[in-house]
Assembly symmetry: D3
Homo-oligomer: 310 residues x 6
Amino acid sequence: MTLPTHLPYSGIATFARAPIVQPDGDWRATFAVLGIPFDIALGFRPGARFAPRALREASLRYVPPFSDLNGKVWLDPAHSSDPLFVDAGDVVLPSLEPELARERITQAARQVKARCRLPVFLGGDHSVSFPLLRAFHDVPELHVIQLDAHLDFTDVRNGTRYSNSSPFRRACEELPNLVHVTTVGLRGLRHDPEAAQAARARGHTLVPMEEVEANLEAIVTALPEGRNVHLSIDADAFDPAVLPGTSSPEPDGFTYALALRLIRGLVRRHRLVGLDLVELAPNLDPTGRSELLAARLLMETLSEVYDAGH
Amino acid sequence: MTLPTHLPYSGIATFARAPIVQPDGDWRATFAVLGIPFDIALGFRPGARFAPRALREASLRYVPPFSDLNGKVWLDPAHSSDPLFVDAGDVVLPSLEPELARERITQAARQVKARCRLPVFLGGDHSVSFPLLRAFHDVPELHVIQLDAHLDFTDVRNGTRYSNSSPFRRACEELPNLVHVTTVGLRGLRHDPEAAQAARARGHTLVPMEEVEANLEAIVTALPEGRNVHLSIDADAFDPAVLPGTSSPEPDGFTYALALRLIRGLVRRHRLVGLDLVELAPNLDPTGRSELLAARLLMETLSEVYDAGH
Amino acid sequence: MTLPTHLPYSGIATFARAPIVQPDGDWRATFAVLGIPFDIALGFRPGARFAPRALREASLRYVPPFSDLNGKVWLDPAHSSDPLFVDAGDVVLPSLEPELARERITQAARQVKARCRLPVFLGGDHSVSFPLLRAFHDVPELHVIQLDAHLDFTDVRNGTRYSNSSPFRRACEELPNLVHVTTVGLRGLRHDPEAAQAARARGHTLVPMEEVEANLEAIVTALPEGRNVHLSIDADAFDPAVLPGTSSPEPDGFTYALALRLIRGLVRRHRLVGLDLVELAPNLDPTGRSELLAARLLMETLSEVYDAGH
Amino acid sequence: MTLPTHLPYSGIATFARAPIVQPDGDWRATFAVLGIPFDIALGFRPGARFAPRALREASLRYVPPFSDLNGKVWLDPAHSSDPLFVDAGDVVLPSLEPELARERITQAARQVKARCRLPVFLGGDHSVSFPLLRAFHDVPELHVIQLDAHLDFTDVRNGTRYSNSSPFRRACEELPNLVHVTTVGLRGLRHDPEAAQAARARGHTLVPMEEVEANLEAIVTALPEGRNVHLSIDADAFDPAVLPGTSSPEPDGFTYALALRLIRGLVRRHRLVGLDLVELAPNLDPTGRSELLAARLLMETLSEVYDAGH
Amino acid sequence: MTLPTHLPYSGIATFARAPIVQPDGDWRATFAVLGIPFDIALGFRPGARFAPRALREASLRYVPPFSDLNGKVWLDPAHSSDPLFVDAGDVVLPSLEPELARERITQAARQVKARCRLPVFLGGDHSVSFPLLRAFHDVPELHVIQLDAHLDFTDVRNGTRYSNSSPFRRACEELPNLVHVTTVGLRGLRHDPEAAQAARARGHTLVPMEEVEANLEAIVTALPEGRNVHLSIDADAFDPAVLPGTSSPEPDGFTYALALRLIRGLVRRHRLVGLDLVELAPNLDPTGRSELLAARLLMETLSEVYDAGH
Amino acid sequence: MTLPTHLPYSGIATFARAPIVQPDGDWRATFAVLGIPFDIALGFRPGARFAPRALREASLRYVPPFSDLNGKVWLDPAHSSDPLFVDAGDVVLPSLEPELARERITQAARQVKARCRLPVFLGGDHSVSFPLLRAFHDVPELHVIQLDAHLDFTDVRNGTRYSNSSPFRRACEELPNLVHVTTVGLRGLRHDPEAAQAARARGHTLVPMEEVEANLEAIVTALPEGRNVHLSIDADAFDPAVLPGTSSPEPDGFTYALALRLIRGLVRRHRLVGLDLVELAPNLDPTGRSELLAARLLMETLSEVYDAGH
């Protein structure tokens, strides 16, 4: 009889039951998880600060290895020489002080990135993508692929340049190596005209949600193969029916299957150098399915990265 | 740097931050909103009385003008000579007394209708559509287009003629100018045979949900162009996955996109004279996405009306 | 004026307002409902113990007869010589003692099965399908058709052979007459390789969710017509957007319409001898739509059985 | 080993597992329960329509007999010649029609009252106490003792004479035998001055909450012993900390112990002829403790009545 | 028959149905309400941003005038020459920028304070008390009386000087006229020793919760009569049983009655120049009783202020 | 400026941020925490399986050292030679198999107990106290002090001897060194007469809740000083108003202050050898205050143990 192991609700919750490390510790891993429980830069319903813990807990329903009905196995720690996963905990953030918070996020992200094949960042609101991207200042020709209902390329929103509406605007200003942004899933009702114009002027690719399904292949192949890509997944890219736990839902978004198809295509074609999942607000979904879906998506994405082998 | 404005959760909540008026005051506007917090005529789970306030709050995420990724702008108050929106508050209703309540609803609706291009009524359960429609007794050849999972054309339900199952039956009886009803999205399990027969005998158009998508164009063009239309949107027309906050959900309803396509077609082809959104029960959806979707739908509908210009 | 009857929230809740009987009482009926409020064999979020009562309450929105927009009537008690429905209550279960619980479930299921055309079992977690199936030991060439995100054919999970991951493994071991299992809707991430191999070795049909829609006809006709079928519906077969109230949701499952199409095909082609609905956890869905959908599904399934007449 | 019996969440929920009867059936019992799922006469948060079922379910944690730590046993069905409990279900109510509803409530209450030692009425909002009291028109010198945060003696509220603010005003007008009302627990902020004056003019006893504890004995002995008493318990008499599930909570109300002490004193001194518990709104308390407390209070009250023997 | 008026859930929600004014408008009033929906300076569970709207809605159950069982009337607008109440809306706040936010809060507070007898501020987290108090820089010998479980006198918390742990430290530093702070209800587990020492060094009065009841009179009379007092009520001063909707609850706090007794004593003895209620998080209390209690407390406090007449 | 540290919602949640150890690892500590996420032995509402994680998270608001308003410091890790806390994670439990589960609980408890001054066990339902107590078989003259609404000394409940109604009965049978049980807070309505008699026959002390406050000193001094005590705290000992998150609440229980006074007295007089907190069901309290109170109680209890020094 097999030995009992922890059921998903049992045991101290680290991501996929990975060992805990310090961001600046002495470790190497294929995938390293870092939480950024920061949500004071959003403009509607808070709660993304609770996402890193919720994702850790949800990940325990999806601990690798995975296997399909034919016995094919993915993401098998037993076949990996390196540790497959480590959990670097959460960035230690100050209260309130946004600039200091951004510094600490960038610093921890740099430390984690230097020690693993792919860092996996658990937001937090979308403003954290800016300090996270600063950790990639040394990546040649960096591309961002963003799944999102909103553009998040606004210069100034309501008196600030650092809200969750502006991360990619700031990143493009500060990172000369960030050459291109592809935003997929757009369907807000009040797109900032200046932001859209600025994005287009930079040559960014903007794909409204209603055009995604018909153009999936084209979106995947729009970039020449083998680019260095940071993938940023905003929870509100998803249809609120499948992922209601987010601050600013917009109807008619991604299903899980469609998002996975897009991500698979991108991951197989390009080299993922960074990955963040943001704007998940577990407190807004009492059914718990939002974090379960997000955790599964991360796991299947990482399986693809591992299989792609580049 | 732009001046800060209210975030959606800030400020006294009027619809789209419109100025407050009295239904019988001295004002003119393109769109005037009137709430009818009445829900004692439904037969299952109450809560629609809370909808007018919830819709006002949700509308603050969708305050016009709107703009697309190409910079096109809709519903721009700056380009409007008239005030675009006013909020006429809620009808002052008695406790319990249904007949008095209906009188007051009709009276307030008449007052509002007389002062604006299009009155927008926020229910309330579906029984309020009858007293609302009485305010349109003077509209020549009035058509009702109803998005609904249920027929709501029952003569008597459980001892009453004025429940949320009967508004259109009563309206057809009392309003000689109400010449036709189109009901789209039907998928209840216990359609009242007498009601269906009566509706068909009057020549009404009844479209089951499973036939909507394939026949969208036909539904839109079924009526000769330019009819005077009151549009009544029951929240349970929507799929409960996308709008769970309603008393009597039925599976497999409208997505947001499909509803919007239908409404756009209708609004462009006909002249909307009245609009109600009913049976939204915010207390039944702790994720808050039900009222956000409904508020966005109203805003996009009004954009179309404004653009249609008739 | 019609006499008032109970609204759905009124009156003691028996399934479809059926008379109450004892499982071993002196009665005959077309359909007999039996609840099994047992949920200690699942490995994640409990609550299925509350499903039998929740389904009884939800069934009151869908009390037969049903009628469509053309006046066609189904499941009309008035046209039935036998009582159409009885409610046999819940199995009286011990605390904690799993083996004793299984015995009592089998015994009560046998008693109910002997007195009706079709027993309808309301779980409980999926482990109850094993003791339920034992009541069908005397059915020649029994087939199981299972709608489920997971295989539930695991030999041993976490130290036990009787969890909700193993009911069909146990049933196949103990019931020589159980000749075949068809599992439709599979989409877990960690299918047990040994279980999948064992199922395939027995010739079971395993249909991943993404292949269901394209192969609906083939799934229905895979078995020669007229088989004796026990239909087991796991709530997690459904998309969590439409049925969030379940312990272990997996994204991208059945819509209501698709499930109904599949079930209709199966019911018309085969002879349903047993039906269970399991893993519904009403406590995990504060909107209440999960049990409403499940109750409606049961009612439409029974309409089909009744119409099929075999 | 003892035979298993139903756990509280198991089995069809009748009050205390009592047999089901029709209000006008052929039965006799000591206590008969009747539900009145009517809540359209309240002016704030609905949900009392769900109370009868919630109380039935909660009662299953408190099924008699009861026993203390010394082995003393109360309310033992085994020692009762008559059936101790029956459950007469809910009054069959029309939709919306308040007057018809009141008639049916009075009629069913009369039928139940005629067949038992003490009818136990489960509201419903407080407006139902008026039609319930009409069933006691033949009781000589009827006294009402009311536990309530509010006076409920208003003549007209917001256009109606039959809301949950007026039941005792109407009862005093229509029932010449209703000689006196004692209201205990008053602590609203906007007592209707006319109502207070009218109550005092009739000689009613009004006890503010802050005077209850110090005057408990005096309240009990204010009436000469042996009066015929209808006890009406409004859920908002309780402190919202201990019973949050009610439409209009007011801080600093009864604890359970204090309410029980008062009720015990009254029940031992007088003859209880009727009992109602109203304004319980289970939908407003997700912890479920409101209905558990109310069910326990009913059970302990009935124990006292049984012991008092008069 | 009296004319219907709005029920509490009806009508656009301004505080106590007061007219809306701009903070810098042309108006005078006895009481003016200003909301500060700012909650990014707290260190645990957000939600206080939703409090101003929730308090406005809850206030509608407690619209003056009030009257007791003897017909005595308080806070009667009919007997007031000035407008009794105005609602100045919420401060228009920037996203994220804490310093700019504090400036705007102070500015709006000054404007409101200059136009009324007593400004009533609705937080927001407790950090807003610092910018609010800056509006009282011109009040001679200002005293703060603070009801709170925590000291909120910390110099620096987790890298910031402006969190909700520091408002009174900052205020004492910047306002020479702030001569004394009385903090009542202390019961945290980790009082900052430096903060306690600093407060004592300034001569502040610190009263642990367990000493409040026995020393109520002493607390009230500790200050010489007639001081200018700003009263700051932290929602976590209350027992979480009576007010669960707050970020950082601590057991065994104020009951409503005890808080009201203390406040009455203070208000009668001193001159209230400012009043804030902070740290109410309506999203954390699904029963809604937290905001109802807070709204009632404000109303009864204002009644006392009005009666005191100074 | 102090360095930022984690806010309570940040960082991987171990109890009080303690280092993680294996139960059988190479470590020593003053206090060691072990979770037992087992809740299939209760008879009403499940959820205690979620308590160990919830308590870990809640403990992060109460990380020692603690300090009062006078600067006195408790439980200061800086002044401790040994590690003050370790977190031994949760017992690895099988699915369903109760006997195997009990074995593993006893084994892990023994391992933890052998390595620390005081093991702190986080249930789980109350059935876990039996396997936990087996780990204390070698403690001379063991006393159990139990805070509980219910006796939990039943021989057989509903077919099982191992439910959460029987832990102390089983422990007394199997542990000759368990000489005495004191149960404080009893207030169930259906005390098992046989259990009460058996407890009294063994000389146990049974204290009903209503006698606790008046007899606090007597309860504390009932045992001769210096006994070896295992303290078992059932969450339902508390008043449901202050701790609603528990399966089977009973009104009028302990306040936090009263429980703490009792525990302080006991801890100072006796030698605590074991401590468990059970029956906390975080899923039943959406306000989160239940686990916050329980975590604080544990922390203050441990402070007393540390100070007592024996």
